[in-house]
């Protein structure tokens, strides 16, 4: 993992060197956004649903990237915070009958507080030890959810009505859910972007690059590590909330350890420490298992694993880094 993080540092540098004109990047982002807004009106509902899930995963990966890519901490339990957001939303909708727009800030807040609480012990742990503790959280959440049946619905989970499009919009349900998710995802990326450009973002990078040096420069390690956990959990909570809106069903089986591992793998494949990494990682998590099954019906898991290995071999800095590396090879005219 640490080698991946160091290689990410270099890739961030190459990226910065190869894309000097910020305007081009903004144009590309604007084009991407326009395409994203256009997509639901052109694609079949099934593909719209897939893209919605890509956005959900992208928000979750964005949060994980804050922690892993920018603050240099490892989390194998990100799925647990995702589940917290999803369950908080489900319980608010089902047991408290709150209107759904209200569930988003509340789910985010719940996850933020839990992340903050979890960040305190995490400050004392490093590397593999931290990874193990986060893994324990992911393992322990499933049985916990099954225990409190009156609130969580036990192992049967909770089935919920999805947010319905307002009548004036004339939109279909999948289009409405997609646009809701898109708006939230764009907002999440803007928040994360401004966060990283701020003093806090620079402090996180300093912590990642060298803790001792960061401390010497006046960065309070404990508060920034704790905050990194809390922010990361908050984005996961937002993603979990979107998930509940889109799927309309939560159960402990939806949030196994596998989810946490898949998220981490998706992020590493997508690329650590960049804004495009989470999106590429989300695309990978969403589409590659399906492709794997198309290749071989008998053992889709094996093919999926092989594909991860293949991607990491071709693009050791993740798919986002790969783009940077390719750009570097093409001579630029300026």
């Amino acid at each position: 993992m640490s080698s991946a993080i160091t290689s990410v540092k270099t890739s961030v540098k190459t990226l910065a060197a190869t894309v000097p004109a910020a305007r081009w990047r903004w144009l590309a982002v604007a084009a991407l956004l326009a395409a994203a807004c256009y997509a639901p009106f052109q694609l079949a509902p099934f593909h719209v649903f897939q893209l919605t899930m890509v956005l959900v995963y992208a928000v979750a990966l964005l949060g994980l990237d804050l922690l892993v890519g920018h603050a240099g901490q490892i989390s194998l339990g990100h799925g647990a915070f995702f589940a917290v957001g999803a369950y908080a939303t489900a319980i608010m909708l089902d047991r408290l009958a709150l209107p759904y727009p209200l569930t988003l800030p509340l789910a985010a807040g719940t996850a933020f507080v839990l992340g903050l609480a979890f960040g305190v012990p995490a400050v004392r742990l490093r590397g593999l030890y931290l990874a193990l503790v986060t893994l324990a959280v992911a393992i322990f959440l499933g049985p916990l959810l099954k225990r409190f049946e009156a609130v969580t619905g036990g192992s049967m989970g909770l089935t919920l009505a999805k947010p319905q499009p307002p009548a004036w919009s004339g939109l279909a349900e999948d289009q409405w859910l997609y646009l809701l998710t898109l708006v939230v995802a764009v907002a999440a990326f803007l928040v994360a972007g401004s966060l990283l450009r701020s003093r806090a973002g620079r402090a996180l990078h300093a912590v990642r690059d060298d803790e001792v040096a960061a401390e010497v420069m006046g960065v309070r390690l404990s508060s920034y590590k704790t905050l990194a956990f809390a922010w990361s959990a908050m984005f996961a909570g937002v993603a979990g909330c979107l998930y509940t809106w889109v799927i309309g069903f939560v159960s402990p089986d939806s949030f196994t350890v596998n989810l946490s591992i898949t998220l981490l793998a998706g992020l590493v494949v997508g690329g650590l420490g960049s804004m495009s990494g989470p999106v590429l990682g989300a695309l990978f998590v969403m589409f590659v298992p399906g492709i794997a099954q198309d290749i071989n019906d008998a053992a889709p898991g094996v093919i999926f694993g092989l594909l991860i290995i293949a991607v990491m071999y071709v693009a050791p800095t993740g798919l986002a880094g790969l783009a940077g590396r390719l750009v570097k090879k093409v001579p630029r005219k300026e």
Binding site: W26, V29, A30, L33, A34, A36, C37, Y38, F41, A44, P45, F46, F49, Q50, M53, G142, P143, K146, G154, S155, M156, G157, T159, P165, S169, G170, L171, A172, Q175, L179, L182, V183, V186, A187, L190, Y243, I247, G248, F249, S251, D253, S254, T256, N258, P289, G290, Q293, D297, A298, A299, P300, G301
Partner: protein
Amino acid sequence: MRVSAIGAAAVLLLVAACGGRDEGGGGTGTAASGGACQGQQTTGITDTSIKLGGIYPLSGPASAYGDIPKGIKAYFDYVNAEKGGIGGRKVEFIVRDDGYQPPKAVEEARRLVEQEQVFALFQTLGTPSTTATWDYTNQRKVPQIFVATGASQWGTDTAHPWTIGWQPNYISEARVYAQYLKQDKPQAKVAVLYQNDDFGKDLLGGFKRAIEGTGVKVVAEQSYEVTDPSIDPQMRNLAESKADVFLNVTTPKFGSQALAADAKNTSWNPLHIVNNVAASITVLKPVGFENVQGVVSSTYYKDPNDPTWQNDPEMMLYKQKMQQYAPDADPNVPYHTFGWAVASSFHKAMEAATCPTREGLRDAVRNLKGVKVDMLLPGVTLETGPDDGFPIESMQLMKFKGERWELFGDVIDTRKEFGPLTG
């Protein structure tokens, strides 16, 4: 910030320009369905073909169930090649993997319905995956036929007419054991070990209701979580109750543990009843066959390992066709037999449909009257009605003797004994 403004403007523009999408999709009332069937959905079905989709955990923790679609495929391949399909329609069966994850099941259900344009979902496996998808299938009015889970909600629910189960639900199974005890041990004191989830609670709850007002009493109950490493403490507590019957409501891994714990404890020798889920030979073998003699369970379809069916025409056909159409699959694995049985049930239901439409299939599976399926035990038939969404509610008891299960007694029809099952 400017970018987001552009984005927001684009969204508004597009919403205004395009509005919603026509929710058409899928043909209705083509040549295949004239007369009374006019106007019904004929997506995925023509005069010569019928397209079905199934969702199973081919990967992940529950991937053992991934054997079921192999039996189904072998059956459809055989029917396509040698019988000209079902009513002249060749069956195409598409299997997708959900890894036992509900969100993946939703995605695959949408893929099958919207992209592959299947006629019906033929089996989704597991209670979580089925719960996650049944709102969608019922909204889209796509039949979700013979789902592979024993939860009782598929039959008792009235808001999802397009979804129906197949195998005996856990409450029916509990009724079978209750009936057996009422007759053979009317004063039985029962100790129960159950899995703390919908499956365990369905079965235990059904059992308790079925013994109400009789001399049979539950004197001790202990639950465990799927994540528990061992059930030994629970077994010690149950042994203290001195019950004379032990009802073992577990999934395979814990079934083995409970059987072993019971065998080890020589001071407590109750009649051991193990539920169908944990009754396969692969569960009993590690315990040692000498330790599980006389254990009781129940079943409803023919066991390929049982020599009773050695010369049974359907079993011979099954073994021969499995070898021919699924040469890599071992016909002695009961999951393959299960697949074969459920596929031939579908065959019967589809043939009985008056309209070759989605509505026709939905109505046909809720109007099965004593339909015989040769892979089911003699006396077990498919029976449904407008108020009865449970195709199989009869089971036969079996006792372990030597190295295999031996059927005994008559088939117990829980409908007759206990009346219809309602929510």
